[in-house]
Symmetry: C4
Subunit: 257 residues, 4 copies
C-alpha cells in the first residue's frame, strides 16, 4: 500500500545508460518548466516515477478526463538513440515546497533517487530576472557550478559564469545542484535571462540551444511558441485557482483556521 506521510518516490524498474538529470520545476519565468516540458514532448519521453510529499501543497488537480492528480513531481526518461550517448531523466512538477525543511527534504530525495538509478550528471534549469521587467530580446544564459570541468565545457557554449556574485538561487534550481555536489555528482544550474515573469519562451529557447549542444541531442525548436501559449494558459489557470482559493480562505475564517 502506498502512503504519503513522508516524502516518497514511487518508481517503475528501469535500466538507464549513464543518465543525465534535467530538473525543470516551477520558478522565475517558468523557464525550467517550459524547457523540460518541451524536451519531454519533443523527445517523446515516458513517465516512470512520481514523487509525493507532505511538504507539497495539499491540493488535488482535476484532469480533463474527470480524474485527478495529487500535487507531485514527475520523472520521465528518454533512451538516447546514439549508443554512445547518455539517457536522460527529465523532472517536472506542479509546485515547490513552501518551507526550508520541505525544500531540503524533497530536493535531497530527488538527488538520492537519481543517484540510486545510476545517475551521472545533473542540470537544473532556472531563470535569471534581469530586473527591469521588460522583454529581453537577446537573452543570455548564466550558470553556476562547483565543477570546473563542467564549467569549462558550458563556457564553450556561451554560458556565463561568475557574473552574478551574491545572487541567491532559491529552491530546487540551487539546492539540487548543492546536494548533487555532496553526493559527488557533477552538476550545474543554467539560468535563462528574462525580464518577464510568466512564461518566457525566448529565454527557454536559448537554454534549449545550450542543452542541445552539451547533450548532443537534436531538438527541433520550432514548436516552442505553441507550447508557450499552452503553458501560459495552464499557468494562468493554476494561478487563478490558487488566488481564488486564497481569497476564499481569507473571507471564510471558519474554513481553515
Amino acid at each position: 500500500v502506498l502512503t504519503v506521510r513522508e516524502t516518497k518516490i514511487f518508481s517503475k524498474k528501469i535500466e538507464l545508460r549513464n543518465p543525465i538529470l534535467i530538473v525543470g520545476l516551477p520558478g522565475i519565468g517558468n523557464i525550467g518548466s517550459l524547457v523540460v516540458q518541451y524536451l519531454i514532448q519533443q523527445l517523446g519521453a515516458k513517465e516512470f516515477a512520481t514523487l509525493y510529499s507532505p511538504h507539497l501543497p495539499y491540493f488535488v488537480v482535476a484532469l480533463d478526463d474527470g480524474g485527478f492528480r495529487l500535487v507531485s513531481d514527475r520523472f520521465y526518461y528518454y533512451k538516447n538513440k546514439d549508443k554512445n550517448g547518455s539517457d536522460l531523466v527529465l523532472l517536472i512538477g506542479d509546485y515547490q515546497p513552501a518551507t526550508s525543511e520541505g525544500q531540503y527534504d524533497v530536493n535531497d530525495q530527488i538527488v538520492k533517487f537519481f543517484k540510486s538509478i545510476g545517475g551521472k550528471v545533473v542540470y537544473t534549469i532556472g531563470g535569471y530576472a534581469s530586473g527591469d521587467n521588460k522583454y529581453v530580446a537577446n537573452p543570455r544564459v548564466f550558470g553556476v557550478s562547483a565543477d570546473k570541468k563542467l564549467r569549462k565545457e558550458l563556457e564553450k557554449h556561451n554560458v556565463i559564469f561568475g557574473a552574478m556574485p551574491n545572487l541567491s538561487i532559491i529552491g530546487a534550481a540551487g539546492l539540487v545542484v548543492a546536494f548533487a555536489k555532496m553526493h559527488g555528482l557533477p552538476a550545474a544550474c543554467l539560468m535563462g535571462e528574462t525580464g518577464m515573469l510568466d512564461v518566457d519562451a525566448n529565454a527557454s529557447k536559448k537554454v534549449l540551444e545550450v542543452l542541445s549542444k552539451i547533450l548532443k541531442i537534436d531538438i527541433d525548436l520550432k514548436d516552442i511558441t505553441k507550447l508557450q501559449t499552452e503553458t501560459e494558459k495552464l499557468v494562468k489557470e493554476l494561478q487563478e485557482a490558487a488566488a481564488d482559493t486564497a481569497s476564499k480562505q481569507a473571507s471564510n475564517p471558519n474554513y481553515i483556521k
Copy 2:
C-alpha cells in the same frame, strides 16, 4: 490514558456492513458540513469515534451545558435498514489543519482508519465556487474520481466530470479521495455549485439528492432550510470567535509571540 501529541483516532468497537464513508469537513459554502450534518440528523446516526490532532487549531469550544469540546473530527455510523444495503460512516469536524504536513497526516489517518473498519467506498463533499459570488438558482453537481466505474454511475445521476480541468481541490475533499485511491478504495469528490461563501443550502440539497440515489437511502429534504439557519448561526459564532481571537492576538504582542 489518552494523549494527543500525535494525530489519533479513539473509537468504540463497532461492526459495520460494507461501510461507505461520507466526508463533510468545513470548506467552500460549508456544503460538506451541511450535507453530512443533515444526514446525521435525518438518519439518527450515532457518534462512535473522534480524531484529535496537534495539527488542528489549539482551541477548546465551549458547549451550552458548561462543558467543552477539544477541536476534533467526529465519526458517526448509520446501520442501513435494508439488509443488502451498505452502512454509512459520516465524518464532520470543526476545522481543517492549516499546514500541508497537517493535512497529509490527518487525511491519511482518516483513510487508514476507515479501511481498518472494513471500509469499501469513499465520498467527499465540497463546494465548487462558480466565481461570480451570486446565488446559484439551479446549482450543478461536479465530480472528480479516478475510478471509471464510479464515474459512470455518478454520471447517471447528472454529476458532471471533466468540466473543470486544472481546478485545485484543496484539503480533505481532495486528499481523502487521493489517499483512498492509494489504498485501493473507489472514491469520488462531489462538489455542489455555489456562488455564496457562507452556508449554501440550495447546493447542499442538490448533493443530497445525488447521495440519496447512489446510496439508495431515502432522505427527507424538507428540513434542510431549518438546518441552514442553525448552521449559519454556528458558522457566524465560530467566525466571530476566530476573528475576535485574531484581533486580540494582534493587539497584544505579549500574548503569543
Copy 3:
C-alpha cells in the same frame, strides 16, 4: 547535561499533598498572569521546576542583575498550612507557543508533569473579553468544565457556566483543561470578564475571590492594584521589545530570512 531540543521540564524533587494546579499563562487581559503572579507573591510560593521548549520564542530576557532568563514556564509550590488542605502548584510563563504543534506539546507536558507529582485538580485562569473594549465595573467570572461535580461547586461561588456556547478558548487555558480530562483529572477554566486588553486587575480580583473560596485559602487582595501597576510596566516593556524586534527584522531582510 541539560539540553532543550525537545520540550523538557527540569524539576527539584518535592513532596506535595494532593496538589492543585493553577495555570496563569499570558492571555486576554493578562488575567491569568496577574492572578497567579499575585498568588505567588501573597503566599510566598517557591519556584521548583522550569519548562523549556523549542516551541517557545527564541528569546533570552535580560534580568536586572546582568543575568538572563531563557524564555520558559515556571512552576511554584505552596505548602498549605491547614493539614487537611491541598498544596498548590502555580504556573506562570513569558509566552505561549505560536503553533498548534507547539501548544499541544507544551500543554500535554504540563499536564503529564503535574500528574507525575501526584496532581489532583486543575484550574486554568483566563479572560473573557466582553467585546466592547470598555472597563467592566462589575466583572463576572465564567467557567468551562467537563466535570459536573466541579461545576456545581463553582456555581455556588457564582461562576457562570454554559452562557457562552461556541466560544473558542485558545491556548493553555483551554488545552490544559482538555488534556487534564484525558488524564482523568477534574479541571476547570475560570475566565474573568474584561473589556480591557492589557492588564485587568478588577477582573483578576474577582477570579481571586473565587479561588480563595474554593481553595479555602485566605488571600489578602489589597495589594492587587500595586501588582497591576508593576505588571503593566512589564507587559509594556515586553511588548515594546517584541515590537521593536519585529520592526528591526522587517527593516533588515538580511537579519533573518
Copy 4:
C-alpha cells in the same frame, strides 16, 4: 556521503588549546558579522568546519568564481601565538533560522560542537539598538551573562550589565549564551550600542576594543572602515536578492504555493 536532512556540522580534525568561541551571526546593525569577519581577516583565521541545516533558508549563494555556497554557518580557528593564550574559534554565517524550532536546533548544535572540541568560554556579539535610529557617536557596550566572574572581568573593560532589564535578546546572540550555560560553559553576550540598522562600524570598533582586552590579543582597528564599506555592499546585495526573490514569489503564485 554528506546529506543535510538534519542540521549537521562537517569538520576537519583539529587540535585547539582552551578555545574561546566568538559568535558573529547576522543581527542588529550587523555588528556580530562585522566584528567576527574583521577578526578573521586581521588574524588570518582558517575555516575548518561548516554547519548546514534544513532550518536555514533554501538558498544557494553564487560566488564570483562561478561556483556557489549553500547557505551555512562557518567556523574558523586562530592559533594564539602566545603559548599561554587561548586559541579562538570564530563563527560567521549567512542567515539565521526563521522558526523557534530551527533556532533551538542550530544553536544547540553550535554549543555541542564547540564543547566536543574542548571549548572553554563563549562570547556572542550583537547590537543594542538605542531606538532613535540615529548615528551613535560614542557607543557603549552592553552585556548579559549568568557568570558572575565573567561579568566582573567584563565590567573592568566598561561593559555595562543590568541596565536593560526585560530586553529580549533574540536568536543566536541570546540562545548560544543560554545553551552554553546549560552545558556548564561560561558565556556572555556583548552588544554594541547602535542607532543605525545596516552596518555599524563604530559600534563594532568598541566591541573589538573590549574583545582585544579580554582576549589579550592585539587587533589593529584601522581597516575596520574599509571592511564596513565592503560589508555594506554585500549586505545590500543580499538584501536586494532577498527582496527581489520575495517580490517574484509574491507576483507569481504558481512558483511556490
